[in-house]
């Protein structure tokens, strides 16, 4: 099925607030095999200058995917997820994601373009606290491989 190009420029709705918990951060750090105490131990995180346990840099993908996953699953877009691989990922952080943050993600589908038999889709996701403080911008390019 072809990708619907009309989706370029579409700004998706702001996600439901996501509450960042110490338990989820520790689970994520375990899954990536990272034993850094600033991801688990509040005292260690505070000694490093943070208000609470912080998340590994790539944890932002959990929040951005909660938004972009829903956007990319939009049946009108016509994406075949089994054919999708990740092409490129960039994060710009205003500060580390910290336990206790309540954040939302807003996804913009910025580009759809052909690359040979593949199609590349780029999304830009703004992660902000519910008070409006910018935390991270995540720019993802995914590739739907041609059959």
């Amino acid at each position: 099925m072809a990708i619907n190009r009309d989706y370029v420029g579409r700004v998706f709705g702001v996600s439901e607030p996501y509450e960042v918990s110490r338990v989820k951060i520790a689970e994520f750090a375990d899954a990536i095999g990272d034993a850094n105490p600033v991801y688990r131990d509040r005292a260690a995180a505070q000694a490093a200058g943070h208000s609470d346990v912080i998340a590994p840099p790539t944890f932002a993908i959990v929040i951005s995917m909660a938004g972009s996953g829903a956007a990319l699953a939009d049946p009108g877009l016509g994406l075949n997820y089994a054919m999708v691989v990740h092409g490129e990922q960039r994060f710009s952080y205003s500060r580390p994601i910290t336990a206790g943050d309540v954040v939302t993600a807003q996804v913009t589908l910025t580009d759809i373009r052909d690359a040979g038999r593949n199609v590349m889709l780029t999304t830009s996701t703004e992660i902000k606290t519910v008070a409006g403080e910018h935390v991270c911008t995540a720019v993802s390019t995914i590739v739907e491989r041609g059959a």
Partner: protein
């Protein structure tokens, strides 16, 4: 307490020694659960092969996480990551055996920037193939 480097310690061109990070099928199952990315190509060999892949492959974000760990372990707990970007140039194939695969990450101090920021150029390889290109992190050091 982990070692902490400072901006003054860092010189452009300094090599960050290579670190090897293992990745097994269990790593991918755990990463599926922790990240919420349950794409079948990361855990189902039958479907991975049916869609033209050699076998189950690691999440790109798992590989990026290893590169992130490489940077934060080097930079120390008081450093904060300001920018982090990669391009996924090849897949990390994870066989269903007792060895799995490994991701070799190395880096170099690319540039000292204003405001105590340092740019690190990163390289990641699996099975002698570059799996990340244009991989770069900017960290702010004390």
């Amino acid at each position: 307490m982990s070692r902490q480097i400072t901006y003054a310690d860092v010189e452009t061109g300094t090599e960050l020694p290579v670190v090897s990070y293992p990745v097994s099928r269990l790593s991918l199952v755990k990463y599926c659960g922790a990240s919420g990315d349950f794409n079948v190509i990361h855990w189902n060999e039958r479907i991975a092969k049916a869609v033209g892949l050699p076998d189950v492959i690691a999440h790109g974000m798992f590989t990026m996480a290893q590169a992130g760990r490489f940077v934060t372990d080097w930079a120390g707990p008081q450093a904060t990551v300001v920018e982090f970007g990669v391009r996924f140039s090849s897949t990390v194939v994870v066989p269903d055996d007792d060895r799995g695969a490994s991701i070799e990450v190395s880096g170099q101090v690319d540039e000292k920037l204003a405001d105590n920021r340092v740019a690190i150029a990163l390289t990641a390889r699996a099975a002698d193939t570059k799996v990340l290109t244009r991989a770069r992190a900017v960290v702010r050091l004390p």
